[in-house]
Every structure is written in C-alpha cells, then in structure tokens.
C-alpha cells in the first residue's frame, strides 16, 4: 500500500489503536496483580449513563461534554462502590458488581427511552466505537507528517489519547516504587507510612481516565480486553514485574496493529466482502495472544512452594 493511501486512511486509526491499547495495558498490569482486573470492566460500563446524560443535557455528541459526563459517572461509581462496601460490610468485588451492572443498565435504559435517533449514539457504538472512521483526510502521503496545515486536520481523538498515554506513563514512572511495594505487601507499605488507600484510589482514577479516553475513541470492548489480556499474557512470560510491563506493551501494540489489519483485510482474504469492526478484532487478537501465553508461556505454572513448611 502506498503512502498516499496508507497515511490518510490507516495511519491514524492504527496509532489511536496502539495508544489506546498501551494506555489501558499499563495500569492493567497493577490491576491484574491486585486482583482488581474487573475494575476496567466496571469503569467501561459505568461511563455509559454519564455519556447519555451528557448528551441529554447538551444535545450534542461532541467530545468534551461526553468525557466530562463519563468522568463524573466514574467518580460517582467509585464513591458508590466504597459506600456499599463500608455500609454493607461486603467485599469490593461484590460492591463493584452491584454498582456497575446497575449503572450500565441505567445507561441502556436512558439510551432506549430518550430520543437519540438523530445522532450517532447507540449501544453498538458504545461497545465497538468506530476506529475506522478516525481517518486523516488532510493527508496526501508521508510528507503530510511535516505539513502543519495537514497536521491541523488530525482527528482530535489522536491528541487526546496520546496525552492520556503520556499521563498514564508519567503516573507509573513517578509512583513505580510505592505501587510495586504496596501491590506486593500492603501491610509493609503502610508500615513505611505510605498512604496505600490514596495510592490505590489514584490507580483506579488513572485507569478510569484511560478507560474514558479510550471509550471516546474505540468503545468499551477494547478497554475491557486491553486492561486484562496483555498484562495477563505478559505475567505468563516472565517472573519480573519490570519485564512484565515491557511484555504487556509489546502485546498491546501487536494486538492493535494485527487487529486493525485483520479487521480490514481478513474478511477479504477469506473471500468475504465487508471489513469487520477493528475494535472487536483488536480485542479478539489480544484474547488469542492470551490463549497462546496460557498454552505456551514459560512462566504459566504457579511456581510457588506449598505455603506450609
């Protein structure tokens, strides 16, 4: 494929897919190790009512009201989960289950009961996003990457997810040691004087930001997959946290690029005519990578000695 075709039509969707996948996979490593992997799932569900309410209030589907609505819904969900956990004296997972199913159901109900027929806001869009449509029509070829006029026409989702990725990376870099220590041994971390509750909350908030930015670009399926599949597969490749992070980034990039290419060309190779959803295919690819890691990963068996003795 020539640059004149690739740059405007495929470069930006691939970059957005890659940035999204990495921004979700990075905090996903800690969520998986903290047995909180479903938080990504929870967040991507709870943002739906926030987005619908934002639409009902503003009447448009522009990005900023949507993202503010999603962020407010995430905060509401975190508060509700914490309140139910404390008042009901139940574990976090159960409280999360109650909150995110209720909020997602509320979102679907709002969506169905309100008149959103005039705009592109429906359940399928919320789940799958529309990665293929994030094209860069101002580009004429590779030279456009140096052309300020063409660059101004880049899809805004690209800038938002890139800034999100920088923010997520900066958070992990800055709080690497506290995150590692408190994820392994929370009691010891607290003994050192770390505010592990605040740190855990910060991790969830950072994950929520990544989820909302990703949701904006590619829908919630990819968010759920990227929080869990690359980190889980990476854990099976190594017994060192530093290397696990590196593997998860590699797997996230492979999922995004391969998923996009397979979605666009896979059906044609198989004799079909229509391309399939890129976000759905990216999620599928990450699932296949996890399957391969489960079957063949070098560190897939629990190496732990019996806990007694």
């Amino acid at each position: 494929m020539s640059g004149a075709e690739f740059v405007p039509l495929s470069l930006t969707p691939i970059l957005i897919g890659v940035f999204t996948a990495v921004a979700c996979a990075l905090p996903g490593n800690f969520l998986v190790l903290r047995r909180q992997a479903l938080i990504g799932d929870a967040i991507s569900h709870v943002v739906l009512p926030g987005i619908v309410v934002a639409f009902l209030v503003t009447g448009t589907v522009t990005a900023w009201p949507m993202m503010i609505g999603a962020a407010l819904a995430s905060i509401l969900a975190v508060v509700l989960i914490e309140a139910i956990r404390r008042l009901g004296r139940i574990e976090t997972g159960a409280a999360m289950g109650v909150v995110f199913t209720a909020m997602f159901a509320g979102g679907v109900l709002l969506l169905e009961r309100s008149d959103t027929s005039t705009v592109h806001l429906d359940v399928e869009h919320a789940l799958m996003g529309n990665l293929e449509s994030l094209i860069w029509l101002d580009a004429m070829g590779w030279a456009s990457l140096l052309d300020p006029v063409a660059l101004a026409g880049l899809p805004p989702e690209l800038g938002r997810i890139f800034i999100t990725l920088i923010g997520v990376s900066a958070f992990l870099w800055l709080f690497w040691r506290p995150l590692k220590i408190s994820t392994f041994d929370e009691g010891f971390a607290q003994g050192l004087g770390m505010r592990t509750g605040a740190l855990g909350m910060a991790l969830v908030v950072v994950s929520a930001v990544a989820a909302v930015a990703a949701f904006d670009a590619v829908g919630s399926i990819i968010v759920i997959a990227m929080f869990i599949c690359p980190p889980a597969a990476a854990r099976l490749m190594t017994n060192r946290l530093e290397r696990q992070i590196a593997w998860s980034v590699v797997f996230a990039v492979i999922s995004a690029v391969m998923g996009y290419v397979l979605a666009g060309y896979g059906p044609l190779w198989l004799g079909g005519t229509n391309a399939v959803s890129a976000a759905g295919m990216i999620a599928t690819t990450s699932g296949l990578i996890l399957l391969l890691a489960v079957l063949f990963g070098p560190c897939r068996s629990r190496t732990g000695a019996p806990s007694e003795g």
Partner: protein
Amino acid sequence: MAHLELATDHGQPLPDDSVSESPLAIRGLTVSYGEKPAVFSVDATFRDGSMTAIIGPNGAGKSTLLKAALGVIRPLSGAITVYGKPLRNQRHRIAYVPQRASVDWDFPTRVLDVVLMGLYRQLGLLGRLNAQHRARALDCLDRVGMADFAERQIGQLSGGQQQRVFLARALAQDAELYLLDEPFAGVDAATEKAIIDVLKTLNRQGRTVVAVHHDLATVTDYFDRVFLINVRKVAEGAVADAFTAANLQAAYGGRLATAQIDDLELAAH
C-alpha cells in the same frame, strides 16, 4: 547511642519505665473491626533494649496491637508514641515484619527486589539504586543465610525461606525498633534457629524487639519480657515475673490445659 549501649552492657532492661523513653508506648488503645472490639483499652510500654513476646490465644488482638502501633489500622481511641514522639516522624526508626501469609508469593519479583523494598525510605520515589544499595541488600540476605537465593523468583521459596527474606528486608531498614508478626509461624527448625540468632544479635546491639509469638515452650529461651493479652491486657513484665501459670490461665481461659501449663512452669525453672 550511649544510652543504647548501656542497656546492652548490663544485658538488663533499663530501670527507667517512663513513657517518654520507651521505644513504643501505647495508651488506652481500643480497636474494633465490627461490633466487638478486637483490642480494648490496652496500655503497653515496651522497654528500650528489651526483647518482648506478645502472647495470647487466637483472636486475642496480638496482630491488631502491632498493626495499630504502626498506624496500619486506625484505632477507635488511644495514643501511640514512639521514642516519646508521635509515630508520624518516627517511622524511620521502626522495621516491620508482617505475617508471611499476608502476601501473595506468586508476585513477579526476585528475592533481592523484596529486600531492596526495605530501602524505600532512603531511596524515595525516584532515588537511583546503586551498587552500594545492592551490596547492603545482599549483606542482609547473608545475615539470614539466604545470599545464594538473591536472584530467585520469590514463588520458588519454601515457607521458612520466605520468612527469612522478610526478616532480611527488615534488616535493610536498619531500624532501632523491630516489630514482628509471628516470625516463627510454620517455619522449619533451621529457619527458627537462624531467625532467633539474628534477633538476639540485634538485641545485643541494643535494638528493641517485639514479636507476636505462639509457641509458649520457647518463650523463656527467646525473650526477656512478655506481654499477655486477650482483648484486654492481662499482664506485662519480665518473663520471670509475668510468665506465670495464673497469667496464662487468665489469658487463655479454658483453652490451655493445666497439664500444659505445668510443663511450661517446669521448663521455666
């Protein structure tokens, strides 16, 4: 430090029992997880340079007492002072060894990395790890007989080896007060010997050791003071004075057969 050496020279607890001098003083501590308090209105003064066992039946609040002293759990009421000052500014003087079973040993990291966690207060968020730090961590591993395991994945260790790694991490903290939660639980005889040797060495250097302890048979050999608790404080003092049949009966209630206590008393004298 002269003060600490004095305690070592005589091998005796200092006569000074004032709260202001104590490495760890607890006043009116009440902690509750639910309706019932786990620890109720407990006062404790751990003496400088002493080696104290916290003893009591299961659910007596032993671990809770330690965790509250460290600020890990928030008490309903009570005041904690460490070397006469609020805990907040004194954390660098405390090393803590949590229960081995409280963490997931499948966590992807190496033995040396766990010991390096003990240097966090020195390194801070972004301080660079250098060869000196690594050498110090290796030295701490050597002191517990685990130097050969530095590169191992922690999941490959036996229970006793895990406990030694936890102790090495506490050694890396180079503290004055060592708080240990059941350091001898479920470890092999060789590990138990290695751990008590390290603790006694620390104690000879003038450091204060406080350990939650289960095995009543070894109290007299390992410790010079005991603190008996069953939600409320039962007794506190030198082993010879406080580790008595009456106090054990009071702490354990019917859970300890009289015959067992008789055996202990024989061992004690």
